[in-house]
């Protein structure tokens, strides 16, 4: 607590007596956390790779160099600079496939978070403002979805919809959504009793205006934190579904699908197994580090240390 006030004090002086902007306050407390900043940089690097994949990758991800199948990475005997991270069983360049894989993972993360969060926020707002019976009905429904282990429910949903990356994203968004509903509803309920909400009602604000303009902005902090955390969950679950053969289908260079292809070479070619996993781990780790930093900065109540 003493730390924060010292920080704010310094800022006030630097800005010539004005109050620091909201972003400034946020950034000050976010950048105190070294891990979070590293996470942010790694995340930006991956974002860059994902956006410019076709320009960065040395080869097309599905180009097969049959003569160079299962070539080890450059630092091992038999490796060559032509394929820095080696090739897979069909002679496709590992590095190019990993670079293109970044696109799929980010795509999955963004789509899942946007779908789950917007759906969850709307349902949560409705539950928070609705009459008691509708609130109970919605929350009971969310309890039902939460009773299933998320990966299992996603797996069965994909089995029903047919295995593809799109269906995997729909399934993951659906199983992550209840978390947003619960979070939004909880914050709405605690905000609704406050004076500014009463004031806006007295001033004649309609139900919709109250929901989206008066209350929602004040509920966003925990939702943003949840968004960061479910971004990483989405990447992990999509990779897991791909690994089980229920997500992106080969020859898509999705990291989980690549691992599934590589399974039979586990004991013969370590690089086809190792690199896609490292890519998943590093991305998810960076996002989780960032998420921890976000939580500490946005939601002091939840601060762990």
């Amino acid at each position: 607590m003493a730390d924060t006030s010292a920080q704010t004090g310094r800022n006030v002086l630097r800005d010539g007596g004005t109050r620091p902007t909201r972003f400034r306050t946020f950034w000050n407390s976010f950048s105190e956390n070294r891990g979070a900043v590293i996470g942010l940089w790694v995340f930006l690097a991956f974002l860059f790779v994902a956006v410019f994949a076709p320009l960065i990758a040395p080869y097309d991800p599905s180009a097969q160099f049959r003569d160079y199948a299962l070539q080890p990475p450059v630092w091992q005997d038999g490796g060559a600079w032509a394929f820095p991270l080696g090739t897979d069983a069909l002679g496709r360049d590992m590095l190019s496939r990993l670079i293109h894989g970044a696109r799929f993972s980010f795509f999955v993360g963004i789509v899942v978070v946007v779908v789950a969060a917007s759906g969850g926020i709307i349902i949560g707002l409705i539950a928070g403002f609705a009459p008691k019976w509708l609130d109970t009905l919605i929350m009971r429904l969310m309890d039902i979805i939460l009773a299933f282990p998320s990966l299992l429910l996603a797996l069965v949903l994909v089995a029903v919809l047919g295995p593809s990356l799109l269906n995997a994203m729909i399934a993951i968004a659906l199983v992550l959504q209840p978390h947003y509903v619960r979070l939004t509803r909880a914050s709405v309920l605690s905000e609704r009793g406050k004076d500014y909400v009463t004031a806006s009602r007295v001033a004649g604000a309609g139900q919709l205006r109250q929901m989206f303009i008066t209350v929602l902005p004040n509920c966003l902090a925990p939702i943003i934190v949840q968004a960061a955390l479910s971004f990483s969950t989405a990447i992990l679950d999509a990779a897991a579904l791909g690994f089980l053969g229920m997500g992106a289908q080969p020859p898509t260079p999705e990291w989980g699908t690549m691992l599934a292809d590589a399974r039979e070479f586990v004991l013969r070619a370590w690089w086809v197994v190792t690199f896609p996993g490292i890519a998943i781990l590093v991305t998810v780790l960076a996002i989780n580090l960032m998420g921890d930093g976000l939580r500490d900065a946005l939601d002091p109540k939840l601060k762990r240390s």
């Binding site: 039902i144 299933f148 282990p149 990966l151 990779a239 089980l244 691992l259 190792t274 998943i280 781990l281």
Partner: protein
């Protein structure tokens, strides 16, 4: 307490009903006629098709089908597998011990390592050990466990040759399963080497399955400990001259345990979801692998029944955790 108990039960029953409704709905919205799927490659005559439809009750109105399904569940009838034609209920309980054994070992590993790591991290807050344990925990928490399993196989089965790659026990051993737990059965069988073989099969899958709960428990223990360590009664305990071990180990840990126990209880869902991946990779004959195989074989009654059983187990454990929590902490009851 009775009111608390009844209110929790009151939310349990509608949720249970909803879970059965969802698992029932799955088979209805699946593309393709389940009877045709059953016929497989061979095809069937029109009469046989009608007979099977009547046998499985698909010619009944939908509400009647759900009613039959629901009353069946209450009597332990989940239908028969399309593939083996055995009751899903029996198949579930013949495979469940394997998953249970794996999960118990995983949760023991996770608790035995996670609790001390969390306590040490909290006591040495900000020091090297804290940062080391917490970064390791975050890595574990971010780990794609199916990849982690493959790595362990490469190192311990491939390079070092210490552990087998799949299954529950070596092919050379055979004995009756009395309890369904391979560790106990192999000891009971009295065959030399059987127990060793069972342990060596169990060790890698348990480590893989323990990874995420371990990370969660370590993080939760640390934050619960930090909260408790700033309480007045800890200062009192220190002030009256108790040794740091006693303050940390007895006064603080005991009070920090409540949220930690909750986390351990609530990790059952994580374990069962993790079991799907772990069992698939290690060919562990439990319900996770059974579910995945059934999904690929389009064995709908099994998928439906397995989904329901797993959800019900998670719900029962959560209910028990909730009730125990209310029993220990009276503040919760009034909510």
């Amino acid at each position: 307490m009775l009111k608390f108990f009844l209110s929790r039960l009151g939310t349990f029953i509608p949720t249970f009903f909803g879970v059965t409704l969802i698992s029932f709905a799955f088979i209805r919205v699946l593309p393709g006629d389940p009877i045709i799927v059953m016929a497989g490659e061979r095809g069937m005559s029109q009469e046989r098709y009608e007979a099977l439809r009547a046998q499985y009750g698909f010619d009944q109105p939908i509400w009647k089908q759900f009613w039959d399904y629901f009353t069946g569940i209450l009597q332990g009838d989940l239908g028969n597998s399309f593939v083996t034609n055995r009751p899903v209920w029996d198949e579930f309980f013949s495979l469940f011990p394997a998953t249970l054994e794996l999960s118990i070992c995983a949760i023991i590993i996770a608790t035995c390592l996670g609790l001390p790591a969390g306590v040490i991290a909290a006591v040495y807050r900000g020091k090297f050990l804290d940062r080391f344990f917490m970064s390791t925990a975050l890595i574990g928490y971010s780990m794609p466990i199916f990849w982690w399993a493959l790595l362990l196989i490469i190192v311990f089965s491939g390079n070092l040759g210490w552990t087998p790659v799949s299954g529950r026990i070596g092919l050379l051993y055979f004995f009756e399963d009395t309890t369904g737990f391979m560790l106990i059965d192999s000891l009971l069988s009295g065959q030399s080497g059987a127990f060793r073989s069972a342990v060596s099969h169990l060790i890698l899958p348990s480590i893989v399955l323990a990874t995420i709960p371990l990370a969660v428990i370590a993080r939760q223990t640390r934050s619960a400990m930090l909260e408790v360590l700033s309480e007045d009664y800890i200062r009192t305990a220190r002030a009256k001259g108790l040794s740091p071990e006693r303050v940390n180990g007895v006064h603080a840990l005991r009070n920090a345990m409540i949220p930690v126990i909750t986390v351990i209880g609530l990790s059952v869902g994580t374990l069962l979801a993790g079991a799907i991946l772990t069992e698939t990779i290690f060919s562990w004959p439990g319900i996770g692998k059974w579910m995945v195989d059934s999904i690929f074989r389009r064995d709908y009654p099994v998928v439906q029944g397995g989904l329901l059983m797993i959800a019900v187990i998670v719900m029962i454990v959560n209910l028990l955790v909730d009730l125990t929590y209310g029993l220990i902490n009276p503040k919760i009851r009034s909510r």
